[in-house]
Amino acid sequence: MASTRLTVLTQFVKGRYICQLQRITLRYCNKGGSSRGLREYINSNAVDFAQKNPQVVVYVRPRPYRHPSIIAEFLNGKHKAISVKNLSRAEINNKVEQLRNSSGITRKKMKRWWHTDSPSIQGVWTPFDSLPYKNY
């Protein structure tokens, strides 16, 4: 039987690949120690990322006296906020790449690992299939 979760995922395979990440907001603190990795990332890798991915809008927001975080917004309207507190520049780079590669679908356990648009070719069974006399 068709699986609705997999129907959504197959949309991405059908046509041209479209990057599902729409916006990414890097929120950092100028002074805080937990923001050090993110500050380094912004100074070095953020511009490269923005240039390599013109379809993604990169916002950089200073947020004083708070831990750093990254908010990703996807084409299907889903928001994902991840805390990058005390992460190194390389780890943050990995996280951002991960967000860039992901769709906005919330992670959920797969019930069925297959999907089909045509579950039945001969027609689903009805009680009238094997009746000997057609009087309807």
């Binding site: 001969q122 027609g123 689903v124 069974w125 299939d129 094997s130």
Partner: protein, 125 residues
């Protein structure tokens, strides 16, 4: 009065409370009740994993049996002849054929019927 406990205690208990989310009443929030409920739930899950395999097989057999009865043959005859003909389809697939591809299932039933009569003729010789 409620005193603060050690950090280890809260970490240990948090693991139990993670298992008891959605439980009824105090079993999800009060530790003494929660450990009992959590352990019972894990036991049920262990047993359920084994029962699931049995339950699905019996469901498939029920479905194949009903489909075969529609083709005027008992389940035992149908399956016995499938085995004799070395048809490698398992009960899961046969039940899905019966639901989604009824004509294919009918063809298999006819095959089984022919094999049954051939077997009968051989026995009479």
């Amino acid at each position: 009065m409620v005193r603060g406990g050690s950090v280890d205690r809260s970490i240990r208990r948090a693991k139990i409370f993670a298992l008891t989310k959605g439980f009824r009443g105090r079993s999800k929030n009060c530790y003494s009740l929660a450990i009992r409920a959590a352990h019972k739930a894990l036991q049920h899950a262990y047993r359920g994993r084994k029962l699931k395999k049995r339950d699905f097989r019996s469901l498939w057999i029920t479905r194949i049996s009903n489909a075969a009865q529609e083709q005027k043959m008992p389940y035992s005859m149908f399956m016995h002849n499938m085995v004799r003909l070395e048809v490698q389809l398992n009960r899961k697939i046969l039940s899905e054929l019966a639901i989604y591809e009824p004509r294919s299932f009918q063809a298999l039933a006819d095959l089984a019927r022919r094999r049954q009569s051939k077997g009968l003729l051989n026995a009479l010789k």
